[in-house]
């Protein structure tokens, strides 16, 4: 798994080259998220991600803690990914945006 990142507005926009954040990739994801440069809040674009399992969800939470005090925003969750966040109520923990564009308007 590779993350790419670029400044975008007030965020550091992070995109994945992988379609899953799962047991096979959670550790790599966590390590790459921890190594993100700068001090801007992070916006993780999940548009290409089709599936996040419990390991992936745990890795996203771990990344959020590691990034603090920077905030981790999530954008463009597909219905299956959104369902995992909703069932576990972890959608209450992250600012979640319909799209990257919408995140900018939300500030």
């Amino acid at each position: 798994m590779r993350l790419s990142h670029a400044p975008e507005g007030e965020f550091l926009l992070v995109t994945l080259d992988a379609s899953r954040i799962d047991a096979a990739s959670a550790l790599a994801f966590k390590d790459e998220m921890r190594a993100l440069p700068g001090s801007a809040d992070v916006l993780l674009d999940l548009a290409r991600v089709t599936f996040v399992d419990s390991s992936g969800l745990g890795a996203i939470v771990a990344a959020m803690k590691a990034l603090a005090p920077r905030r981790l925003h999530l954008a463009a969750l597909n219905p299956t990914v959104a369902k995992v966040f909703r069932l576990t109520r972890m959608d209450t923990v992250f600012p979640i945006h319909v799209s990257v564009g919408e995140a900018h308007h939300a500030g």
Binding site: R20, D22, A23, A24, F51, D53, S54, S55, L57, G58, A59, V61, A62, M64, K65, P79, T80, K83, V84, L87, T88, R89, M90, T92, V93
Partner: protein, 159 residues
């Protein structure tokens, strides 16, 4: 390595499928599990299920497979997993078998509470997700093999 499917008829070493069933054998490693899940999800796609039903099946199946990889074969070489999907008129029946450590029947009986989001949990979601989505959850062990069975309703429950 993906090996031949059991117990259904064999089909070129890549599992087998029919109009209303699908089966596959794989090793309980994260990469093999990921590949097996991809094939199972393709089958769910062929069945043209409502998106929410396919999503529930994928989530519960993935968590059950992860449990086998992480716990059933913990501390020993990853062993085989047999995955079966059966399409019925009102539900999808999922069966998973492995030859790992015995599963506690308590997993079925005991209520599973969701991790508290405000505590920022990094784990403990797996069984909660399975129990949230699966019905008719059963575990039994026979001849050194764990069998986990559950079903996902094809109609969306009122919520």
């Amino acid at each position: 390595m993906l090996a031949e499917a059991v117990p259904f008829p064999r089909n070129g070493g890549h599992g087998s499928a029919g109009a209303d069933f699908f089966s596959l054998q794989f090793e309980a490693t994260p990469p093999e599990t990921r590949l097996a899940l991809a094939k199972a999800v393709m089958q769910l796609g062929l069945w043209d299920l409502p998106e929410d039903v396919a999503a529930s099946t994928e989530i519960a199946l993935a968590e059950a497979c992860n449990n086998i990889a992480e716990h059933a074969y913990a501390g020993r070489d990853p062993g085989p997993v047999w995955l079966g999907l059966l399409l019925q008129s009102t539900k999808i029946i999922v069966t998973l078998s492995d030859r790992g450590w015995p599963l506690s029947p308590d997993l079925v009986q005991a209520p599973v509470t969701a991790p508290d989001p405000s505590a920022l949990p990094e784990g403990g979601f797996g069984w909660f997700l399975i129990k949230s989505l699966a019905q008719d959850l059963r575990i039994h062990r026979m001849n050194g093999t764990n069998h986990l069975t559950f079903s996902i309703p094809r109609t969306k429950p009122a919520s």
